[in-house]
Symmetry: C2
Amino acid sequence: MQNFEFYNPTKIIFGKNNLAKIGKEASKYGKKALLVYGKSSLKTTGVFEQIAEALKENGIEFVEFGGVQPNPLVSHARAGIDLAKKEKVDLIIGAGGGSVLDEAKAIAMGAACEDDIWDIMQGQKRATAALPVLTILTVAATGSEMNNCFVLTEDETHFKAACFNNLVFPKASILDPTFTTTLPLEYTAFAAADIFSHLTEGYFTQKEDTLLQDGLVEAEVRTIIESMRILIADSKDYTARANMMWAATLGWNGLLNSGIGRYATPCHMLGHPLSGHYDLAHGASLSIVTPKWLREKAKTEPRRIANFFRRIFGTSFADDATCAEEGIQALETWYKEIGTPLTMKEAGVQTPDLNTLAASAHKLAKSWGMKDFSEEYIRAFYEKCI
Amino acid sequence: MQNFEFYNPTKIIFGKNNLAKIGKEASKYGKKALLVYGKSSLKTTGVFEQIAEALKENGIEFVEFGGVQPNPLVSHARAGIDLAKKEKVDLIIGAGGGSVLDEAKAIAMGAACEDDIWDIMQGQKRATAALPVLTILTVAATGSEMNNCFVLTEDETHFKAACFNNLVFPKASILDPTFTTTLPLEYTAFAAADIFSHLTEGYFTQKEDTLLQDGLVEAEVRTIIESMRILIADSKDYTARANMMWAATLGWNGLLNSGIGRYATPCHMLGHPLSGHYDLAHGASLSIVTPKWLREKAKTEPRRIANFFRRIFGTSFADDATCAEEGIQALETWYKEIGTPLTMKEAGVQTPDLNTLAASAHKLAKSWGMKDFSEEYIRAFYEKCI
């Protein structure tokens, strides 16, 4: 067990029929909110109306800011920041999936700081404050509802960057699994691929076994696999949706990586350029790169990969290298079964610009401290993903 | 998955050589602290001196308040409250095991409220505030370092009561496993029994399976069992001590019971009178009552007990009732191996007053909403524990 600090002050309100609580939570932080959301589906499902009513009942005025896209753009976040400043809102409420929550956090920070949000995200300026953020989650995947992280994509370069700052921990997040039951299976599969990646990148890149954390991660992975099996048969199963949702939140809230020491997120690094440049679902980019990255890793360090798959898929007790490869194939089969792509072609990217992708990934690798990944290596890697 | 709220704002600073950080953490909350501790061992081990130095370096004055006993008494907490008020301290620092941390929390609440702490704990008065609490943990067991709970024993009646209030979440807790390496194996076993109980009481008393939480609890239990195996061979093994410590913290910080619905803590209810009246170690009282309570429970509801032991001890795949009994015997064997008692006699209680114990437990059962436990039932139960 390596030294660590863990801190996570977000209040989780989990389950059915909790949406009205957003009013009381919001009233703790002010009188006027910016309500950030994505598509009009928030209105057609009735969620928007319920939020509006709960805020009204608690005397909270709000300004709407819709149109957040998957892989949210810096320009759109800037527009939200301008609106939040102009309207002098006290707090930000994000209602949607990970992209909406991420942009809500960016707006919360940008609205409370003098400097430009992208400059802050690039580390050129320092964040000094953020408005309070509340979230209402409608897609379980990114963990944004209970972490200090947000990701934006720069419009011109399609470069995706992440910012980690305790200022943007949501004060409270409402997690109602029923909001996710209408999510098409395809997007649920992308979510599952994202959660799998959050759970296992730390696991696969840490050097030593960690008895406790390994066991916790394995329990989470089993939950995702079993829940997807149930959802393929009945996409509205409440328990499976609930397990996916809570597993997703715990999967990327800092808990499971606490104590494992140095770890890296190479699959997110390699996936971000794909989703940033070709507007793939984030999870789709991860199911493309993950098996290929594992195969590379297993060439020199098969042990933890083999043990993981032995425990998860019950693959053979052959030597580590063989077992790791069997496990990777089982993972590929699982991705296919749930319906998330294994190649760029399957994801609809027919003519990828490998040089641009490699440059973008290499920039990210550098900024995340992954020195082992040269631009040439990454380009060759992407070639295997075509 | 049942609806739940989860909130836990304690900052954890985990690992070696972190003690000096107490100074900076304390400086966030004021200029003068009450340092609560138990035995003089805090001084002989050098921990006290390091704390004093760290506080001094950060300009924090402090007043000592030692002498906290295992199963801390209300009278002693009241003396601490008086001292904290008299000295007008800004914050409370508890350095020790669960008893010290619990009393530190009680003092923090009592010092900030007008009403008597025992009246508050009995629900006759309402807590309105608490001073900030910081903790330095030297025994891994109770989880007090990252929860909103404390337990005190009334002097005259030996009645043990628990108080749950978000005001007493520690602001920060320093968890250094090296502080626990000198803990004798006997006390480590008591700690393990306590952690086992925290992990499994919710598990055994919930009605339905919960895929995610069941798996997380099982991973934690495996960690405790494996860590004790290692510690019996080498009581100073850092990794095993670290795993025990973090597993203990996560075992009773609200996380693992979130979403499991209604659950009860009958073993703590039945154990508290034993430790309160006969000054047994808390964990010793739990290893006495737990197998017997499981055996009672398995008479009508063996399924979850059987499944638990199948997964943990690999007991047979016979019918549930048989398997539950096999598992309970395996648990008794484990308690014996680690060295914690199975009967009152083994714990040194030769002539227990069963009527007093039953009355005390029944009072607790009522206040914790466990209506199934009549005083007669409890008395008959204790008879099996002699």
